[in-house]
């Protein structure tokens, strides 16, 4: 069953498309990484999935229903971002107790356990927490609620590296205990790629890629060697990224299709895989040469 389905989903603000004609679906019990640069439309997309925003065009289906203003979807979905509006006059313990009344699968032991582990005091107030501690508290809510659809929008903002690592581990362990559909947005793929089943890469509101992690790893290859030889071997439209290495040596990232690897090796070209994170950066870059292009003519 597809738990999340979007068909030609579009969100327009004035003449600007925040989300542009997105079609994809996410199966139940999977962890999907929503990757894109700042301003790619990740948050707008996720808020439409959560039923907070109305699409300008196309459809969203969560658990088979339209999520906007839908109580049944809301009861099975939690949306965690870095700016939860929680009441100033309730302490963390009271907020957890409140959350417990709303979510049927709420896990008090996990909530209190995590709070204790991350040294958050039940009696402190949300507004007085530091940015990183707020994020930590938010993800505790997201994990302990155990909603069939769990959405984290840039959940690790402000967290230090150790907390981030602990969070990913906690998320995985809880997912193993209770599989569910998790969507995790980030502009950095590196930290989360091991956790993911698949990745949805968007750029300027449009879908770039929606692949399983294994497909992503074989999506492109890195080739380096003589630039003339390389350009004979690969088609221009397959080139994703280009970097000049020496006078006539070049590094290319190309789509992995119809490349004669043995011929390439024979000609002394080096072939290697491309790290998933780099690939996402290259795919969403405006220029094939990256930042170097800006300085090319100066």
């Amino acid at each position: 069953m597809k738990n999340v389905e979007c068909n030609r989903l579009t969100k327009k603000y004035g003449s600007i498309y925040a989300v542009n004609d997105l079609t994809f679906s996410i199966p139940e019990n999977s962890i999907t990484g929503l990757i894109g640069r700042n301003g790619a439309g990740k948050t707008t997309l996720l808020k439409m999935l959560a039923g907070f925003l109305l699409p300008s065009g196309g459809t969203v289906r969560i658990l088979g229903q339209n999520p906007f203003n839908n109580l049944q979807v809301a009861a099975n979905l939690i949306f965690i971002d870095d700016e939860l509006a929680l009441p100033e006059n309730m302490n963390l313990g009271e907020i957890l107790d409140t959350a417990a009344t709303f979510y049927e699968n709420w896990q008090p032991d996990i909530a209190y356990g995590l709070l204790d582990y991350f040294s958050l005091d039940l009696r402190s107030y949300y507004q007085q927490l530091s940015k990183g501690m707020k994020s930590t508290f938010n993800v505790i809510l997201g994990i302990a609620a155990r909603c069939p659809i769990t959405i984290f929008d840039e959940p690790t903002v402000g967290m230090d590296a150790a907390v981030r690592k602990d969070f990913y581990r906690a998320l995985l362990k809880d997912y193993l205990q209770q599989p569910r559909t998790i969507i995790l947005s980030s502009h950095l793929l590196g930290e989360i790629e091991d956790l993911l089943d698949s990745i949805l890469l968007i750029d300027a509101g449009k879908k770039c890629l929606h692949l399983s992690m294994d497909e992503l790893r074989s999506y492109a290859v890195g080739l380096s060697g003589n630039s003339k030889l390389l350009h004979e071997l690969v088609k221009e439209e397959d080139i994703i990224f280009r970097q000049q290495l020496g006078k006539d040596k070049i590094y290319l990232v190309v789509r992995n299709r119809k490349i004669d690897f043995s011929a390439a090796r024979f000609k002394g070209l080096e072939i290697g895989p491309v790290p998933a994170n780099d690939l996402c950066v290259y795919l969403t870059a405006k220029h094939k040469g990256g930042i170097d292009d800006v300085f090319k003519h100066s």
Binding site: Y168, L176, D194, M213
Partner: protein
């Protein structure tokens, strides 16, 4: 435990590799139950689907077999098969690279063999 994040070998192949080594060094015996995808996911901090893919990679090579409802078990002779496979695929490849590099550095065959003999591997426990 963490898999090598910098290694660009797909994670599921790293999992399969790790399991092969466990069988090779005798940690996992013939007909012994192997770790479930969930145990592996937790051990290596990876998605359970990835871990499952590592297991099925070994099952495809008949190194593991499935008992319905019970999980995966080490196939009889798995150790021998792995040994044979690794000699054929890994070691051969490594030797090829070794010889190629020796040739580039204009090392004689005798010198290379002497180097190999002098290698002192730390004792494994």
């Amino acid at each position: 435990m963490y898999l090598n994040a910098d290694d660009l070998t797909p994670l599921y192949m790293q999992v399969a590799e790790w399991l092969e080594l466990e069988i090779l060094n005798g940690s996992l015996q013939s007909n012994e139950k192997v770790y479930s995808q969930y145990q592996l996911a937790e051990m290596f901090n990876i998605n359970p689907a990835t871990a499952a893919k590592g297991l099925s990679l070994l099952a495809e090579q008949n190194l593991l077999y499935k008992k319905r409802g019970l999980g995966m078990f080490v196939a009889p002779q798995a150790k021998e098969k792995i040994r044979a496979k690794r000699i054929k695929e890994n070691l051969q490849q490594l030797v090829l690279q070794l010889v190629a590099e020796a040739k580039r550095l204009q090392l004689s065959q005798a010198e290379l063999i002497a180097m190999i003999k002098n290698v002192d591997l730390p004792k494994e426990e």
